[in-house]
């Protein structure tokens, strides 16, 4: 399709109406940090582009009852510096702070990170570990989907052509909870994740693991929950030897999962995961309050 | 003596223009009535090909599509051997070989025309492994051996040297191909002055030689070509070979209008040379005290599809493979070899960068075997004033290596 029309939207209604009208012909752009490259490489060829980056109704971090809600067009820099996200969930801010570079964080949005569907999207493992829910809107409807069910395939999310991701939400932190995030990349800035891990833990006073959720990036077609490792840890006391065992277990799982992948993945990742996972878990434990 | 510059902190002359953004790099030149050029490059490493430009020519806004037959003078260039074609005539030797140059009224139209050119490849076997290439079963350049250079160094008696050695270490090291990635991708503008002088404005490391190469390809005397070198956004050796200079000159002369081309980062990767990857087979012997007695090395430098500076680079590797150490018995054979890989040429160090990876590892391994420190073994063998290198040069001036190693070792607490 030839690009015919570009619209800088100001209101959410406007975006939803335009999508209802144009459906497959239209695509939304937020920060553009994935979009512009795909457009120039002709991987996408919309007829209509709708810019949502300056729609205030999509740009917020707020408390709503027991939940924290983050608008889809919220930029990484805003998340990184948010005073609303608690210290216990600093892992989410860390994840946002690890994206690309200052420039990319000033443009890129959490909604774009999710909807682009990259396996290496850095905020997604953190949101998965938080048990986040995607709030989706269209002209006549609002629906909620657990984020872990939002992915269809690499680069594909469960959105109808007239829908946008409106926000993500997750339960605010409670005493005993913590989130840790660790990214492994070739260098500190501007490096796509080779592995990223986010660990959410809930412990009682004796570091008994009451609950645990692990989100991983770059270890599957899209970011996923690592439920086998979660099951292994749940109910156990998180002594060093238990953590060590869980780490080995995680390595074994990856050996099987990545068996058919090229050497850099199948040989490296099952080994590297051990350090990354341990660090993420320890980070989570260190921020439990 | 009182110097104007030495020992003083001076502000560079081009600094002001650069911090204010006023410095003009070739992509910053915009001229009235300017056309835009874009290069079609081969997508396969070794093939005969035919072109059909008829569809592309019909696109509105396309002014001219240049192919090999449009090169007015010699269809060749190259800093040592004229082994590059300005535009390949019938055979491509690597991915990225230029095969056509489209000139259009805008960059967008030029890009569209590039896609509309039909290229039919008849692929032929290619060789990517330089060791394989040395057998000459697949020739990269017709009628020419792939081995384009053999540097031979012989000093003392290598057999005796190893016979006297108490420890011998032998290994093979592979270094990788490296891209310069200078920050400013290739760009240039060409136009013709009233008296017929062809002006090419491009960021280059070698303007005086570019002038000759442009003149030969254009079939005009050198004084009819003027090369202007505006601000150069990094080079590191990657701008020593011709890239777009001749294409632009041809286009400007044919159309009578200024023609500009700017490479994307991706095209820049295809267009210019790389650092030679080398396979370094090396054997080093020393006595119990850690004195080096013998070194034997075979170096195979993969120069890819074109020679560029392969000979000079490979020679430098052959000389520097001894490291800055006195060794009485040395035998080195260094080869530069054509393959169908990206072509290699100058890059920061020019052959002297690759070999220390091997030489210095050998020193560390020897030290470990002899149970002496890596600092000590280097100090024992280091060049000093008056030392003779393996290729026979006596170092008569300052050779502050021992000082340097000592200071560095002290600074990191190894001494």
């Amino acid at each position: 399709m030839e690009l015919k029309k570009v619209i800088k939207a100001e209101k959410l209604d406007e975006v939803l109406n335009l999508l209802a009208e144009n459906r497959e012909r239209a695509k939304v752009i937020a920060g553009g940090t994935d979009f512009v490259i795909q457009l120039r490489e002709k991987k996408i060829a919309p007829e209509v582009i709708i810019d949502i980056s300056d729609v205030d109704e999509l740009n917020f971090i707020r408390k709503s009852g027991e939940f924290i809600e983050i608008g889809a067009a919220t930029k990484f820099t805003t998340i990184k510096n948010s005073g609303i996200i608690s210290d216990a969930f600093k892992g989410l801010k860390d994840a946002a702070g690890h994206v690309g570079s200052p420039q990319i964080r000033n443009l890129g949005t959490v909604g774009g990170n999710i909807c682009n569907g990259s396996p290496a999207a850095d905020t997604v493992p953190a949101l998965l570990a938080l048990g986040a829910v995607a709030v989706v809107k269209s002209k006549n409807n609002t629906r909620e989907v657990p984020l872990e069910e939002f992915y269809l395939d690499r680069g594909k999310v469960k959105l109808e052509p007239d829908e946008i991701l409106y926000a993500v939400k997750f339960l605010n932190s409670k005493p005993g909870q913590g989130l840790g995030f660790v990214k492994l990349g070739l260098r500190n800035a501007l490096a796509i994740s080779s592995i990223s891990i986010a660990v959410f833990v809930e412990t009682d006073n004796d570091i008994n693991c009451k609950d645990v959720r692990i989100g991983s990036g770059a270890l599957a077609k899209f970011p996923i929950r690592e439920k086998e490792v979660e099951a292994f840890l749940k109910g156990k006391t998180l002594h060093e030897d238990v953590i060590e065992e869980a780490t080995e277990f995680f390595g074994k799982i990856l050996e099987q999962r990545l068996a058919g992948r090229p050497p850099v993945e199948k040989d490296y990742k099952p080994y590297a995961i051990k350090g990354v996972f341990k660090e993420a878990l320890n980070k989570a434990l260190s921020v439990v309050c | 003596m009182d110097f104007n510059v030495i020992g003083k902190s001076v502000i560079r002359v081009d600094g002001l223009a650069k911090v204010t953004g006023k410095a003009i790099y070739p992509q910053d030149i915009y001229m009235d009535n300017m056309l835009f050029g874009k290069t079609l490059r081969s997508s396969v490493p070794h093939a005969y090909f035919t072109l059909d430009t008829s569809k592309a020519e019909k696109i509105e806004g396309v002014v001219k599509i240049f192919t090999a037959k449009d090169v007015p003078g010699h269809n060749s260039h190259g800093v040592l051997f004229k082994d590059h074609e300005v535009l390949c005539e019938k055979k491509v030797r690597r991915i990225g070989d230029p095969i056509a140059f489209v000139v259009a009224v805008s960059e967008k139209i030029a890009a569209e025309a590039i896609e509309a050119i039909e290229v039919k490849y008849e692929e032929i076997p290619a060789v990517f492994d330089p060791v394989e290439a040395m057998k000459d079963e697949i020739k990269v350049h017709d009628g020419k051996s792939n081995i384009i250079y053999h540097y031979k160094l012989r000093k003392g008696n290598i057999e005796e040297g190893f016979a006297q050695s108490d420890v011998i270490v032998e290994n093979v090291y592979n270094t990788s191909m490296v891209e310069h990635a200078f920050l400013q991708p290739e760009a240039g503008v060409s136009y013709v002055e009233d008296d017929g002088t062809i002006v090419v404005c491009a960021a280059t490391q070698y303007p005086h030689f570019d002038q000759l190469e442009i003149a030969e390809a254009m079939g005009v005397p050198a004084e009819k070509v003027k090369v202007i070198n505006p601000a150069v956004g990094g080079a590191f050796g990657g701008r020593e070979d011709i890239t777009l200079q001749i294409h632009l000159a041809m286009a400007a002369v044919y159309t009578g209008r200024p023609v500009k081309a700017v490479y994307s980062r991706e095209e820049s990767f295809y267009a210019h040379s790389k650092r030679h990857p080398e396979i370094i087979k090396i054997k080093t012997g020393a006595n119990k005290e850690g004195k080096l007695l013998a070194l034997e090395a075979e170096i195979i430098a993969d120069t890819g599809a074109y020679a560029s500076w392969a000979i000079n680079v490979t020679r430098k590797s052959g000389i520097h493979v001894t490291g800055p150490y006195v060794i009485p018995n040395v035998k080195v054979d260094a080869y530069a070899v054509y393959t169908n890989n990206p072509f290699c040429g100058a890059m920061r160090g020019f052959g002297a960068t690759q070999v220390p990876i091997a030489t210095e590892q050998q020193m560390d391994i020897l030290a470990e075997k002899l149970n002496i420190s890596p600092v000590e073994i280097r100090l024992k063998n280091a060049f000093t004033k008056g030392s003779q290198t393996a290729n026979g040069q006596t170092l008569t001036d300052s050779v502050p290596l021992v000082d340097c190693i000592t200071k560095a070792a002290k600074a990191i607490g190894m001494f």
Binding site: K8, Q103 | L183, G234
Partner: protein, 159 residues
């Protein structure tokens, strides 16, 4: 074509832009701010960085139409009318932080974006502030000292 209005270096512009044009193309090809450089076109090198509404962004990843209503600062906006250099530019000169210069305009802007928000950055913060800008001439040490010196100049009220 679409008509947009924006401010560049304090001056308002109303321009027609093509739908698929990037902010980078608008600034360079239409408005003549050639101090904005293109090094990669995919957000990796930072040479195209400009300050948009106070934040450093890569102009190769912003569509021109998205810049409607925005305030942009490019390197051309830093030097005073009378030719006095901005203290950051002066610091880059004084510290020898310029080599080929292709990264320089954007480096200076990265320093500005940082120092506008944080007048006394640590070395680590400076390194993070310029982490989205590659200098292939690899003059990073001097660039970091230049940013420190710039902070000094600015804190003394300019040089």
């Amino acid at each position: 074509m679409k008509t947009i209005s924006l401010k560049v270096n304090g001056k308002p512009y109303t321009v027609e832009v093509e739908e698929d044009m990037r902010l980078l193309d608008l600034l360079r090809d239409k408005l003549g701010f050639t101090g904005v450089k293109e090094g990669c076109a995919e957000g990796e090198c930072g040479a195209c960085s400009v300050i948009m509404d106070g934040n450093l962004v890569t102009s190769c990843l912003v569509m021109a139409f998205q810049a409607d209503g925005k305030e942009i600062i490019t390197i051309e906006g830093l030097q005073s009318e009378d030719g006095t250099l901005h203290p950051i530019q002066q610091a880059f000169l004084d510290e020898g932080a310029v080599q080929c210069g292709f990264c320089t305009p954007a480096m200076v802007l990265a320093a500005k974006a940082l120092l506008d928000k944080n007048p006394n950055p640590t070395d680590e913060q400076i390194k993070e502030g310029i982490s989205g800008n590659l200098c292939r001439c690899t003059g990073y040490a001097k660039i970091v000292s230049a940013v420190k010196k710039a902070a000094e100049y600015l804190n003394q009220g300019g040089k």
